[in-house]
Subunit: 246 residues, 2 copies
């Protein structure tokens, strides 16, 4: 039995998210079915994060245990041939120690959120950005983001379906920059609550369009109440960028 680490890219558009579901295709089930066809084994693929429907990944990390002897090349090429036409691709594979766990060994996760900040709706990047048709104040957003950095009770920014044991998380960094017509928000933490990045970005957008002030962001955080959330940003702008391991 070999434990394999998989680094995976996917377009979340056609998937019901990462996690296996009874009622439609997910990234996890697509990978598991490809591996089953290749090996005859019903192996579970464990991811570093469980992204929602419509959320993308540029480098999700996962692991899977396979008994059949395989080379890394054969495993990667086999999965990539068998997942077609689903928009998921294995970027890299490597054998890892039996106690290495994509989720539980992970000590850092990074997300990117792309806002298309222009009047015209997206055409080439439809489904890959959040379209905000008014010009946002990026400096105000960056200032409001500093309120969120650090160790806080993020209950306000947490989905009611979140399964985390505690709402207290340490947000390491939030970086905001304008890149052409887009605004990119990058967030890094050991782990995030369910919907935390989208909820933070939704409120940062309110600051950017002048509807919220920096003190409003502070009040929302301190409320520790989902009802104090201004807005949850849609899934299509969110990308799981990468995970790190000690």
């Amino acid at each position: 039995m070999t434990r394999w680490r998989l680094t995976i890219e996917y377009d979340g558009g056609p998937f019901l998210g990462w996690q296996r579901q009874d009622h439609g295709p997910t990234v996890q089930s697509t990978l598991e079915e490809a591996i089953a066809r290749m090996t005859g084994e019903r192996a579970a693929v464990h991811g570093a994060g469980r992204t929602d429907a419509g959320v993308h990944a540029l480098a999700m990390e996962a692991h899977v245990d396979i008994a059949k002897p395989l080379t890394p090349h054969r495993l990667r090429e086999g999965i990539n041939a068998l997942v077609r036409p689903a928009p998921v691709t294995v970027l890299a594979v490597a054998p890892v120690a039996d106690d290495w766990h994509a989720r539980f060994s992970c000590v850092g996760r990074r997300y990117l959120y792309r806002i298309l900040d222009r009047r015209a709706p997206p055409a080439v990047d439809r489904g890959r950005v959040w379209h905000v048709p008014v010009t946002l104040d990026v400096e105000a957003m960056a200032e409001a983001a500093t309120v969120l950095v650090g160790r806080h009770d993020f209950t306000t920014f947490r989905s009611v379906h979140c399964q985390s044991a505690s709402p207290v998380k340490t947000l390491d960094t939030v970086e905001i920059e304008r890149v052409g017509e887009e605004i990119h928000v990058r967030a890094a933490a050991r782990s995030f609550l369910h919907h935390q990045v989208r909820s933070m970005v939704g409120c940062l957008m309110l600051v950017g369009r002048g509807q919220w002030t920096v003190p409003d962001m502070r009040r929302a955080l301190e409320a520790r109440d989902r009802a104090a959330l201004g807005l949850n940003a849609p899934p299509e702008g969110l990308y799981f960028l990468g995970a790190s391991y000690s």
Copy 2:
């Protein structure tokens, strides 16, 4: 009657190209139908370039004559509402002189070609890049590109369906750079032959993977014979970047 200049972005994937066709949706027909629903007028939309099926545009220029009085804002918003769900969007509109012609007044056209140069197939950018799974030598490609710059008979790099009066064109620049996992080829000229950019990129790729040398590129150009073409790159990596007017 007002002549309007339209700047347009589109994802070429679901279209049979720019030009009106009897057997399916095109960018031109999609825009014309939206304008007809808005104005009741059957106005022709003329583009600076007639891109093939699958080719994208980040800033195609076009013009259309409309009798109904409209503000630029109303025209843009109206088209963008009515073209949905087709992946085409009007970025900007402006009234222009009656003799301004998107195609015939154009004095410069720029294209971008995106190659995804990595082993794994694209997931997030599927249909938006040409996947080349072997590592390409960008310096060799750049050297070979210099052979193409200038005034030449580009018959080798011309589709048999090209309607241009002459195969002689002046290629102003070809720039090649590696951008992360991608290789971007940018080409600029007053005008291009049908398939010229894709044919040049196809041969540059052969140089990049070591199958062709710089002298091979020179021989292909000097052959002035479509049979001397090494490879025509697929449409999905090509983007009409912009047009300029004197």
